[in-house]
Amino acid sequence: MDNNTQNILIVGVGGQGVLLASELLSEVAMMRGLDVKKSEVHGMSQRGGVVSSHVRIGAKVYSPIIPYGQAEIVMSFEQAEGLRAMDWLAKDGRMIVSTTRLVPTTANFGGLGYPDDPIAEMKKKTKNVIAIEADKIANELGNPRLINTILLAVASPFLGFEKSVWEEAIKKLVKPKFVDINLKAFAQGSKLAEASL
């Protein structure tokens, strides 16, 4: 296996902006002249299902899917979805998770319920859990749909691309109307990242 490949898994629920986040990350890698593959399956994503996007960056990438246990970063926009993505997290990998809880109707009907504290469960399995109240920060900024950008900013120091490249990617890919608020969200997330280092 090619050990020089950087693997990042981004997960969440339909409508949370998982695909935009992986698009931004891929764009940044591409601007830095690296090979990139990213993979996700759409179709059902609009209807409240799980959305996951695999991003692989390196000199030459083959499989667009990350093998189990090889993601150095897992970003989860929802607590329990982070738990579902644990299989991909590398032993010394980092789990960056928003404290957002989205409980589906199906979890209300007997059987398997929504876990009481998914983040505590994660901490039992890995030491590097960074939990961020991204929904709270997003609401303070005035738009609940910023969890993706905030988490990307928190992850950015571990990804090794300069801040200016991220800003350039945001300007290129985000709808013009939402560029400013996304730049603000990125700045907020970066502050948190510095604090957590």
Partner: protein
């Protein structure tokens, strides 16, 4: 210049660079984005949503006969619909190049089966190309058109969900210079497939396949990557990438053209290696073909499943079973410990209304392909069969004919599905007088695939305003005597209509008239809330399966959870308020403050 493109975007780009004149399709996951991207980025190409894949294919044939390069795209099951023109177009061959995309869906991410369409190419005796990433998706479109014109044949480009929806870097180029278009030549011996002509064309197919068998031995699409190992791997498509990821320095024969196979090349490769393992997704297509060619020192499906998608893990496990890989990273977290998060009908979805009625009346419901198939999920559980596009009506007729009046049967299908292949079903119900009720859930868009126009929306794929078929008038013209329209989110009105129509002799049609809550524009209205003091915990609102209705922490005296409504998710469809007997669900007083 390099761009990050999905396989589907790359095919659209390839069509542009190949000088395609015409592109036609019916939407179907995972193929839909190809034509959406053609329409969005390459306005020089005439493109259309056709009513179904058969028509799209025939339009494409027309384009080819007229001398223009033509592209037709569809999901794997779409090829079943288009199989009729395909099988005979193989006989006539082309004028302008003709390429169609079969986008297969291993793992059935969004499909009713996972058929392996590589067999279709063999069945029709036409070449197929199989890309393994976005760059190849683009390059192979150009090459497929060359092969089509050189060998006088339609060509299939076989994608899979993983190729269509994964993104990778693609080197783009300017469109190629094509010579002057060869206008239609009235060569009736080539294009009029009556028995006398078709017999001669069958010979053409056999000659063509023999020539192609030579061609594929020297095509750069089939290639050996040598590292001097005793083990050899044969693979193609996405499986090649997984194999490379796991064993980057093992000899590998990558298949780019899967029909006909390069048998000489394969024999040399097999002879030169101690062991050869074939890594392929779904059926043992290569394995069978290679054995038929008399090459037997190969191993394959005994290590890999025929079910579902391959993945780095599944390929590694197979290679471990074969004894050529030692350790494989195992998943450590058991996902069955976690609650499922299946797709559900959206908050405010108009389909929920009539499904609540069908559930209440405990009717047998034959279903169809679309968002409304989700009506089968609990707690609604109000749809009981789903086979293929348009099947609901025929299924209902057959069931009614064998059961007589023992039960009332309702067929449910959407507007786009009705126009795709439900019209002939209605015709049969009228012609053979079947006592069924047909609900056409008209949300005025092809919703499941992400919101495409169709013949009743009034717009074309290219964004032009056009005629819009009147579904009610069409049903009347087919001979249905009772055609009525209801608001599916008016519970009582829908209840009355269904009760009356199921009792009516002969076929009747109920058309629901609410547009999709998401597309083309999201519908928002004042959200509802639950007055907890009034809620008696009867759970009637839970049973409509709305994602915005949650159990409250507050319990009734009988220790049942009361209901709560998420004010951000709720968009005010009002269905829950209508089924709430104690009238505990009311409009929020301060909608502005909440939204």
């Amino acid at each position: 210049m390099k761009k990050l493109l999905s396989g589907n975007e790359a095919v659209a780009r390839g069509a542009f660079e190949a000088g395609v004149k015409l592109a036609a399709a019916y939407p179907g996951t995972p193929s839909t984005e190809i034509l959406e991207n053609v329409a969005k980025h390459f306005p020089s190409i005439y493109c259309e949503w056709s009513p179904n894949e058969k028509v799209a294919f025939e339009v494409g044939i027309g384009g080819s006969l007229g001398g223009g390069r033509s592209l037709v795209t569809m999901k794997h099951v779409g090829v079943n619909v288009a199989a009729d023109p395909l099988m005979t177009f193989s006989y006539t061959g082309v004028n302008g190049g003709f390429v169609f995309i079969s986008a297969d869906d291993p793992e059935m991410h969004s499909s009713q089966n996972e058929q392996d369409n590589r067999y279709f190419a063999k069945f029709a005796q036409i070449p197929f190309l199989e890309p393994s990433d976005s760059q190849e998706s683009k390059d192979m479109v150009l090459l497929a058109f060359e092969i089509s014109e050189q060998f006088d044949t339609p060509v299939m480009l076989r994608m899979t969900t993983r190729i269509s929806h994964s993104k990778g870097l693609v080197e783009t180029s300017d469109p190629i210079e094509l010579g002057e278009q060869n206008l239609f030549d009235r060569d009736v011996k080539k294009y009029v497939m009556v028995p006398g002509h078709a017999r001669a064309r069958h010979k053409h197919i056999l000659d063509r396949t023999a020539k192609l068998a030579e061609y594929v031995e020297n095509s750069p699409l089939n290639k050996v990557e040598s590292y001097g190992t005793k083990l050899g791997i044969i693979s193609g498509g996405i499986s090649y990438q997984y194999a490379k990821d796991i064993m980057p320095e093992t000899d590998i024969l990558k298949i780019g053209i899967g029909y006909p196979l390069p048998n000489k090349m394969i024999k040399e490769f097999v002879d030169a290696h101690e062991r050869v393992i074939i890594v392929e997704e779904l059926e043992p297509y290569y394995e069978e073909a290679i054995r038929i060619a008399g090459i037997h020192k190969i191993e394959g499906k005994k290590y890999f499943s025929r079910e579902g998608e391959l993945s780095p893990y599944r390929v590694a496990k197979g290679l471990q079973k074969a004894g050529v890989v030692e350790t494989v990273a195992e998943p450590g977290y058991d996902p069955t410990q976690l609650f499922p998060r299946p797709p559900v009908l959206c908050v405010g979805c108009p389909h929920r209304g009539f499904f609540a009625v069908l559930k209440k009346l405990k009717l047998t419901v034959t279903g169809d392909i679309g968002c409304y198939t989700l009506g089968t999920l609990q707690p609604l559980g109000a749809l009981h069969s789903c086979i293929c596009m348009g099947a609901s009506i025929g299924n209902a007729i057959g069931m009614e004919k064998v059961n007589g009046s023992k039960e009332d049967i309702v067929a449910v299908l959407g507007d786009s599905t009705f126009l795709h292949s439900g019209i002939t079903g209605v015709l049969d119900a009228v012609y053979n007088q079947s006592d069924i009720t047909i609900i056409i859930a008209d949300n005025r868009i092809t919703a499941m695939t992400g919101g495409q126009q169709h013949p009743a929306t009034g717009y074309t794929l290219m964004g032009k305003k056009t005629k819009s078929v009147d579904i009610a008038e069409l049903c009347k013209a087919l001979g249905v005597e009772s055609v009525r329209t209801v608001d599916p989110l008016d519970y009582d009105e829908t209840m009355t209509a269904v009760k009356e129509e199921i009792k009516r002799p002969g076929p009747s049609v109920i058309i629901t008239n609410r547009p999709c809550v998401l597309m083309p524009k999201p519908v928002y209205d004042t959200p509802y809330e639950v007055i907890l003091d009034e809620c008696n915990g009867c759970s009637a609102c839970f049973r409509i399966g709305c994602p915005a209705i949650l159990p409250s922490k507050e319990m009734t005296k009988k220790n049942r959870p009361k209901a709560e409504i998420d004010p951000v998710l709720c968009n005010g469809c009002s269905l829950c308020a209508q089924v709430c007997k104690p009238e505990a669900i009311v409009l929020t007083k301060q909608p502005e403050a909440v939204k």
